[in-house]
């Protein structure tokens, strides 16, 4: 054997020998670190900048809100608050009493912290949060454990949305805020402030962040929930820490999971891997509903989609079942109202489900009939005189002008291949019908710019991935008030009746009355179709079952604070 070859072999043996030796560490006391795979690295630990789900996943272990939702009933459950606050209609105010909680640095959580957080948001107009606090007139600290919020008007979302705001420590943030106030651009200074080890009061706190590789969190000894029973569960955490590993690609993460390098992959598993993972006895898959809406939106401000009849015809032509079974590989549900079906309280089945249960041919015939009645015509109609479905050509609007070519904007394939694919398939369906449609995937930033800022578009496919359970967003998405540049009403939908009901719904404080309004709103929307809801994907998560157990299933999957608080190591 040549000496070179020997050297290589020796090196190989040394390398191979080192690795098994390294897997055990921590000494005699077994420590249990959960290793969770994230599909991307968190961008920041600054809670006011974080908007990506990876940062939020990590931060949700640290910063806590006053109120949360129960995993099974989805009812509001006190979290940092001792009890659900009581509304006083006289003074338009809520009074909240805090639990005995401590920050991870050991100092107590006080009403001052809560007031500080609220005032910080209001003062700096912090994006994503400010909207929920703008109607809060005053925050009064009654005593170290009690705080009172005075509203300007009754607002239904206060409990579920506003009080879910993560509370930050005044001690940590006051100096930052002070610096930011003096900066030329206060908000920029605030969100660009770098935080290495955030002080929170959640179950875990950051120990080390190795950029590009992992983020290591250890159990927060001061976690307020430890040993307490909240939501019917005794809180831990019973594990010593979490190591978040970052994977840029799913293949690597799935491989790590199979090999046991990680215990959980906090991301929806693609269809292709599922069969393989199901076969693995050491891996358990969880399928959960998501509170998401994937939809096709239209520009109602200009022809051709200013005509509701045409939108209805498109809705008939779109085979949501096909999209769900083919593109989503069955891991999702067709969506027939803007509220996801998983949101059991507010979901209302619509009066008409367009094209339900029809075959491709029947869809074409139904859409053709509908449009023909409305005055549309074709050079070659999609249904010929013998009543057979053929390829339609050159549809003409009721006024006789040919329909101009239009584009369906979708996010690019690298961002979401499924939506890009749906766009292409819808394009093909519409073309068969004689509509000059072309799907155009577009970089996300450009797409948003086109739809929200320039508002030059015909149709688009977008999604809301994490809709809050309180459907207040329906109002934001479709109220004519929000039809402006960068506004949320991207379709430009104007309906005075809808506006009135939605404004009403915002201030109705009784849940059931509110639900009735929301139902009416849903039915109106499904008649007018400014958006065609397409599908809600399922959240499919994979974990190893040989090291930890006790995952809590809820809407949006097992990756929730409840899981991490009650997860227990398997007995060795």
């Amino acid at each position: 054997m040549t000496s070179k070859l020997k050297k290589i072999l020796v090196l190989g043996v040394v390398t191979a020998g080192l690795f098994p030796a390294m897997t055990v560490f921590g000494g005699s006391n077994p420590v249990h670190y959960l290793k969770a795979g994230l599909s991307e690295e968190p961008k920041t630990l600054n809670i006011w900048l974080a908007s990506d789900r990876w940062s939020l996943s990590v931060l949700s272990q640290i910063y806590q809100g006053l109120i949360t939702r129960h995993p099974e009933t989805l009812e509001l459950t006190p979290w940092l608050a001792e009890d659900l606050p009581v509304y006083d209609p006289e003074t338009l105010s809520y009074t909240v009493t805090l639990r005995d909680a401590k920050w991870s640095d050991g100092s107590p959580l006080t009403a001052q912290d809560v007031a500080f957080t609220a005032n910080l948001i209001k003062e700096f107009k912090i994006p994503r949060h400010f909207d929920r606090w703008s109607f809060v007139k005053a925050i009064e600290v009654l005593d170290p454990k009690t705080v009172r919020f005075v509203l300007e008007t009754p607002m239904a979302i206060f409990l579920s949305r506003t009080l879910a705001t993560p509370i930050v420590s005044k001690k940590e943030w006051e100096p930052v805020a002070q610096n930011a106030r003096n900066a030329e651009k206060p908000l920029t200074a605030l969100i660009n402030h770098e935080i290495k080890t955030p002080v929170g009061n959640g179950p875990f706190s950051v120990k080390e962040w190795k950029e590009g590789a992992y983020l290591f969190m250890t159990r927060n000894p001061h976690f307020f929930g430890s040993g307490q029973k909240i939501g019917g569960r005794v809180m831990g955490p019973f594990i010593d820490g979490i190591i978040f590993k970052f994977f840029g690609t799913s293949d690597a993460a799935i491989l790590s999971l199979k090999k046991g390098d990680i215990d959980m992959f906090w991301w929806s598993v693609q269809a292709g891997y599922i069969e393989d993972l199901q076969k693995d006895p050491k891996i358990t898959l969880f399928k959960n509903e998501r509170s998401a809406m994937y939809y096709m939106g239209f520009n109602l401000r200009k022809p051709p989609f200013d005509d509701a009849v045409l939108r209805r015809a498109v809705a008939i032509l779109i085979d949501k079942g096909f999209i769900v079974t083919r593109i989503l590989q069955g891991d999702g549900a067709r969506m027939d109202s803007v509220v996801p079906a998983g949101n059991k309280f507010y979901y209302c089945p619509p009066d008409t489900v367009w094209g339900e249960g029809l075959s491709r041919q029947e869809r074409v015939k139904a859409a053709w009939w509908l449009l023909k009645e409305a005055g549309y015509s074709w050079k070659t109609p999609p249904v010929n005189d013998a009543g057979a479905v053929v390829k339609g050509r050159h549809i003409r609007l009721p006024d006789g002008t040919p329909m101009e070519g239009f584009t369906i904007l979708t996010p690019p394939a690298d961002y979401d291949p499924l939506r890009a694919m749906s766009g292409t398939i819808i394009q093909e369906w519409l073309r068969e019908f004689g509509m000059p449609a072309s799907a155009k995937p577009m970089a996300f930033g450009s797409l948003i710019d086109q739809v929200k800022v320039r508002r030059e578009f015909d149709a688009f496919i977008l999604a809301y991935g994490k809709l809050s359970l309180d459907p207040d967003w329906i109002r934001s998405f479709f109220h004519s008030r929000h039809d402006k540049v960068r506004g949320l009403n991207m379709s430009g939908y104007h309906n005075p009746e809808f506006d009135r009901i939605s404004d009403e719904s915002a201030t109705v404080m009784d849940e059931n009355q509110r639900r009735e309004r929301v139902c009416r709103m849903q039915k109106i929307l499904m008649r007018d179709l400014p958006y065609i809801p397409l599908y809600t994907p399922k959240m499919i998560e994979a974990v190893r079952n040989d090291r930890f157990s006790g995952w809590v299933n809820t809407l949006e999957g097992i990756g929730n604070p409840w899981s991490f608080c009650v997860l227990k190591p398997e007995a060795p």
Binding site: M22, P127, F130, E211, K245, G248, T249, V453, R454
Partner: protein
């Protein structure tokens, strides 16, 4: 010294080219339709949020004002804050660049050395089986589609055999273990580096081999090789002392010229293997409309290419005594 004057002149040119790229980039990023804030805040953003943030980021100022600030900041070393990370761009790049350098220089070195060595042998044994096999191998690795090869390597070595990690550059088990020292950590990084390194080296080695082979064949036809033979030198001396130094010169040039190409490959490799390098970061920042980061990363890459070209030229002058500037 003449060489020094040449280098200065080239540096000046590089400065101008750099400035032009800087300007082009600015214009590109500003006329492009992307909306950075929508990506920053997410779809829940309201009109008020956006307007507020835009003014806070200075994106509402007239273009030329932004340009002046941009150039001014640039020359004072301030690349701004990344929209996404909220950190100074320079820090983000500072984190990523060493990783890229590590992967990149190692692969260029390995592939160049292997290419030169094997190319020399192939040329020397022109027409023999060794030559045919090596040339074919080089041709195939040179033309194979890089991401695909990366996937195949992942499939074989990561999935089937399970020998190497396929993701990132360190494993937490080693780095979180307080007992692992520098050696263990280096071995860990090396272990992670094997597959991306293999991908890059295989791809580049082919072209170096081919260049070296043809340069060597050219050189072997030179008169001084005949002289060397007539002088009664041994074949080994002729090959290693007289032929290969001359033949290696084109390889040096091609290393310089192919740098831009190699960076493409680097970005692809980093993306497939999730190597936390600058190429992957650029791809990311671009799709996230993170202007400051994308601009700085691209500028940095151009600067690296420009300066490396200069270094290669100087190296060439150093290696080839015929060239004096």
């Amino acid at each position: 010294m003449e060489l020094w004057r040449y280098a200065r002149q080239r540096l000046f040119q590089i400065g101008i080219i750099f400035f032009v790229i800087l300007t082009i980039l600015f214009i590109l990023f500003r006329i492009a339709p992307g909306d950075p804030v929508s990506r920053m805040i997410g779809p829940e953003m309201t009109t008020e949020d956006a307007a507020h943030l835009i003014s806070q980021l200075g994106l509402d100022r007239p273009l030329w004002v932004q340009y002046v600030y941009y150039v001014k900041n640039f020359f004072s070393g301030n690349f701004g804050h990344s929209f996404h990370y909220g950190r100074p761009v320079i820090e983000v790049i500072g984190d990523r660049l060493p990783n890229t350098m590590l992967l990149f220089t190692t692969s260029v070195m390995i592939s160049a050395l292997m290419g030169v060595f094997l190319g020399k042998i192939a040329a020397w044994r022109k027409g023999e089986k060794t030559d045919t096999v090596m040339t074919l191998l080089a041709l195939v690795t040179h033309t194979v589609f890089l991401p695909w090869m990366a996937l195949i390597l992942i499939w074989i070595f990561g999935y089937r055999l399970g020998w190497f990690p396929i993701n990132g550059m360190i494993s937490e088990e080693v780095w979180l273990n307080p007992t692992s020292g520098f050696f263990a950590k280096s071995v860990d990084v090396a272990h992670h580096m094997i597959l991306p390194l293999l991908t890059l080296s295989l791809i580049y080695f082919g072209s170096y081999l081919l260049i070296m082979r043809s340069a060597m064949l050219e050189t072997l036809k030179e008169d001084y090789i005949l002289t060397a033979r007539a002088k009664g030198l041994t074949e080994k001396v002729i090959r290693n002392k007289h032929a290969s130094p001359n033949a290696a010169l084109p390889v040096v040039t091609s290393v310089g010229l192919s740098l831009a190409f190699s960076i493409n490959g680097g970005a692809l490799t980093e993306t497939v293997f999730s190597w936390p390098g600058i190429g992957r970061e650029l791809v990311f920042s671009v799709s996230n409309n993170d202007y400051p980061l994308a601009q700085a990363a691209f500028l940095l890459i151009s600067a690296v290419v420009l300066v490396s070209n200069l270094v290669v030229d100087i190296l060439y002058a150093y290696l080839d005594p015929r060239i004096r500037y």
